[in-house]
C-alpha cells in the first residue's frame, strides 16, 4: 500500500489563506461590532435597546421605510418588465446586440448618481416635476436605471441556463403566442434569477440617499442622514437595522435560489 504524499507547499499556502481570510473578516466585522456596541449604549453604563426603541417609535421611520419599500417594489416590477423581454429578444433573435445591451446596463456604474439626478431634474423640471407625484415617478425611474446591472445580469444568466430557443419553439409549435410564451414559459423558468435581481435591487433602493435627497423625496436614505445629523446613538442603530435588512434580502434570495428551478 502506498501513501500519497501531501503536495509540497500545501500547508504553508493554507496558512496564508487562513491569515488573509481572518484579516479580511476582521476588517468587515470589527466596525460592524463596534457599531452594534455603540448603538446599545444609549443609556449611560448600561447596554440596552433604547436607541432601537427610539427609532421604532418614530413615525417618520415607518413612513420613510414604507415609502422606500413601495418605491423599491415598483422599481423591481418595472425593471423586470423592461429587462426580461429585452434579454429574451437579445438571446433569441439579436445575440449580436448582447455586448451593446451589456454596456448600456453597466452605465449606472459609470455615471454617478448625482449626475443622473441632475440630468433628470434639468430635463423634467418644467414638466414631470410640476406634478404632485412627478418626483416619485422620477425616483422610481432612476431606481430602475440603478437596477439595470444587477437585474440584466441575473436575467441573462438565468436565460443562458435554460434553452430559451428550444423552449420558445416548443411553445410556439403547441400554439402559444409571444405573450403566453413569456408569461407561462420564460418567466417561471427565471424565478431564481428574478428573485436574485429583485432582492439586490431592493437592498440598493432601501439604502439609496443621493437621488432621493436631491429629488426631495421622503425616502429611507435621507431619513437615515437626517437622523445622523441630529442624534447620537440612533444613527448607529439605524445602520445596523439597514445592514440587517440588506443581508436579510440577500439571504432570502440565496435560500430561494436553492429550491428547484
Amino acid at each position: 500500500m502506498t501513501r500519497q504524499m501531501p503536495h509540497q507547499g500545501t500547508v504553508p499556502q493554507q496558512g496564508w489563506s487562513w491569515l488573509w481570510l481572518t484579516l479580511g473578516s476582521l476588517y468587515f466585522v470589527i466596525p460592524l461590532l463596534a457599531t452594534v456596541d455603540f448603538s446599545l449604549r444609549a443609556k449611560k453604563d448600561e447596554l440596552g435597546f433604547t436607541a432601537y426603541a427610539n427609532i421604532f417609535n418614530d413615525p417618520k421611520f415607518f413612513e420613510s421605510f414604507t415609502f422606500s419599500a413601495l418605491t423599491g417594489v415598483a422599481a423591481i416590477a418595472l425593471s423586470m418588465l423592461l429587462i426580461v423581454p429585452t434579454a429574451y429578444w437579445v438571446q433569441l433573435r439579436l445575440p449580436r446586440l448582447r455586448p451593446v445591451i451589456e454596456l448600456i446596463t453597466l452605465l449606472p456604474f459609470v455615471v454617478p448618481a448625482v449626475v443622473l439626478v441632475f440630468g433628470l431634474i434639468r430635463t423634467y423640471s418644467t414638466t414631470l416635476l410640476n406634478n404632485r407625484s412627478g418626483g416619485w415617478i422620477l425616483l422610481t425611474a432612476a431606481y430602475v436605471i440603478l437596477s439595470f446591472p444587477y437585474m440584466y445580469r441575473a436575467v441573462d444568466t438565468g436565460m443562458r441556463a435554460v434553452n430559451v430557443q428550444t423552449l420558445t419553439e416548443a411553445a410556439q409549435s403547441l400554439g402559444a403566442n409571444w405573450g403566453t410564451i413569456i408569461w407561462r414559459v420564460i418567466f417561471p423558468n427565471l424565478r431564481v434569477a428574478l428573485l436574485n435581481g429583485a432582492f439586490i435591487t431592493f437592498a440598493i433602493v432601501m439604502g439609496e440617499f443621493t437621488i432621493a435627497a436631491l429629488l426631495a423625496q421622503p425616502a429611507f436614505g435621507p431619513y437615515m442622514n437626517l437622523l445622523a445629523s441630529s442624534k447620537v446613538y440612533e444613527p448607529s442603530a439605524l445602520a445596523v437595522v439597514s445592514f440587517a435588512l440588506t443581508w436579510g434580502a440577500i439571504g432570502i434570495a440565496q435560500i430561494l435560489g436553492r429550491g428547484k428551478r
Binding site: 419553439e169 416548443a170 411553445a171 410556439q172 403547441l174 400554439g175 417561471p188
Partner: protein, 381 residues
C-alpha cells in the same frame, strides 16, 4: 396530397441552405429526410414548422398555402433534438399545455393526458418533473405533448440523437408503432441511415440543400441513383471504368484481373465510350479461393487481402485489386478461411452492379445521365 413543398428555397446571405426542393407527402405517410450535417434537412423541417421563412417557394398543407402563417397557428406537433420539456411543469402539465391553449376543459385535458401517457408507456409518471425523467422518458413525454392536441403533421427533428443506442432503437420502434396507430403524417429528420431505413415509408436523401433521391427504403438501398446516395446509404465500392455497351472496362491493373471487363444486366442509355463508375455493395461481392471458382462466377478479379475487421455478424475484408482497395463483407462463420496476405478471387454478380455515368468535365457523377439511368431502370421494373 397532404403536405406539399414547391420550389422551396432558403438562403442565408450568399449561402444556399435549401435549393428548389419539391416534395409531396401523402396523408399518414412517414417520410424521413436523411443526409449529412448541413445538407438542409433541418432547415426544411423548420420552414415547415414556421420557425424559418423560406426565401422562395411555397408550403401547402391540405391544399392551403401556409408559407406565411405563424408557427403557433400551423397546428403541427414537433419533437426537438434537445430536451424541450418545460422544466417548471410536470410531465402531465407539459402534455396538457397545448390542450389548455385550445381552451379544452380540465376534464377533457386530464383524460387526454392520461391517454397520451399510456400511449407512450409512461402511465404512472405524469406527476414527475423533467429533471426526474431519463432522456428517453423525456423524449416520450415530448412526443406525447406533440401528439396530444391532434396535430395535422408530426415533425421530428432528430429526436433520438441524444439517446444511447439501446434506448434509441427501442424508441424509434415506439415512434413507428404510434405513428401507424394514429395514422398521422410524419416528417422525420435524421442523419442515421439505419434509423431512416427502419421506420420510413419513404426516404428522401439530401445533399447540399438538394434532394438527391427519394423512394422506399428498399429502392434507396438497392438502386441508388447517384454516387452520393450509394456511398451515404450503407457502404459501397466504386470502381471507375469505360462503358462498352452492356459491359464496363474497369480501370484496375490488367495483370491482376482475370477479366478486366464487367458484364452488367442493368439497361442504360449511355453512349459507348462514356466514363462510368460501377457501384457494388461489400456484401454483394463473393470471395473465392482459386480452387472454388465455378462456371456461375462471373466478373472475376484477383486481389490481395490486406486487412480483416470483425463487425459482429460479418467480417470486412479490405482487398487490393490493381490500384483499388475494395471492401468485401463475408459472414463471420465463413471468414476463417481468409487471412491477411492471402490471394483471392472476387466475383461481382452482374445483377448486383450499378453503373452511373461520370461527367467528363467535372469528373463527378452526371445528374442527367443518372436520371436517364433511373428512368430506364424504373421502366424496366
Amino acid at each position: 396530397m397532404h403536405l406539399t413543398l414547391t420550389h422551396l428555397c432558403k438562403s442565408y446571405g450568399s449561402v444556399m441552405a435549401v435549393q428548389e426542393v419539391n416534395l409531396s407527402i401523402q396523408t399518414g405517410e412517414f417520410i424521413s429526410l436523411l443526409g449529412p450535417s448541413g445538407c438542409g434537412k433541418t432547415t426544411i423541417l423548420r420552414m415547415i414548422a414556421g420557425f424559418e421563412q423560406p426565401t422562395g417557394g411555397t408550403i401547402s398543407l391540405a391544399g392551403q398555402d401556409i408559407t406565411r402563417i405563424p408557427a403557433n397557428r400551423r397546428n403541427m406537433g414537433m419533437v426537438f433534438q434537445s430536451y424541450s420539456l418545460f422544466p417548471h411543469m410536470t410531465a402531465a402539465d407539459n402534455i396538457a399545455f397545448g390542450l389548455h391553449l385550445r381552451k379544452q376543459n380540465k376534464g377533457q385535458q386530464r383524460q387526454r393526458v392520461d391517454e397520451m401517457l399510456e400511449l407512450v408507456g409512461l402511465g404512472t409518471m405524469g406527476d414527475r418533473y423533467p429533471h426526474q425523467l431519463s432522456g428517453g422518458q423525456q423524449q416520450r413525454v415530448a412526443l406525447a405533448r406533440a401528439l396530444a392536441f391532434s396535430p395535422q403533421v408530426l415533425l421530428l427533428d432528430e429526436p433520438l440523437s441524444a439517446l444511447d443506442a439501446k434506448v434509441r432503437v427501442q424508441l424509434r420502434n415506439e415512434i413507428r408503432r404510434i405513428q401507424q396507430q394514429l395514422g398521422i403524417t410524419t416528417l422525420f429528420v435524421t442523419h442515421d441511415q439505419e434509423e431512416a431505413l427502419c421506420i420510413s415509408d419513404r426516404v428522401v436523401v439530401m445533399s447540399q440543400g438538394r434532394i438527391e433521391q427519394e423512394g422506399t427504403p428498399e429502392a434507396i438501398y438497392l438502386t441508388p441513383h447517384t454516387a452520393f446516395t450509394a456511398s451515404f446509404i450503407g457502404a459501397t465500392n466504386q470502381i471507375p471504368g469505360l462503358w462498352l455497351e452492356e459491359k464496363v472496362q474497369v480501370d484496375t491493373h490488367p495483370q491482376t484481373s482475370l477479366a478486366d471487363e464487367f458484364l452488367l444486366t442493368q439497361p442504360t442509355e449511355l453512349a459507348a465510350g462514356s466514363r462510368v463508375v460501377v457501384l457494388i455493395r461489400p456484401e454483394s461481392i463473393t470471395v473465392l479461393s482459386r480452387e472454388a471458382i465455378a462456371p456461375q462466377h462471373t466478373n472475376l478479379m484477383s486481389g490481395l487481402i490486406t486487412s480483416r475487421t470483425f463487425l459482429g455478424s460479418t467480417v470486412r475484408l479490405s482487398v487490393l485489386v490493381g490500384e483499388f482497395y475494395l471492401n468485401v463483407d463475408v459472414p463471420t462463420d465463413q471468414a476463417e478461411q481468409f487471412a491477411s496476405g492471402q490471394l483471392v478471387q472476387l466475383s461481382f454478380p452482374p445483377d448486383q452492379c450499378r453503373v452511373l455515368a461520370i461527367d467528363p468535365l467535372t469528373q463527378v457523377v452526371s445528374q442527367s445521365a443518372v436520371e436517364r439511368v433511373a428512368e430506364t431502370t424504373e421502366n424496366s421494373l
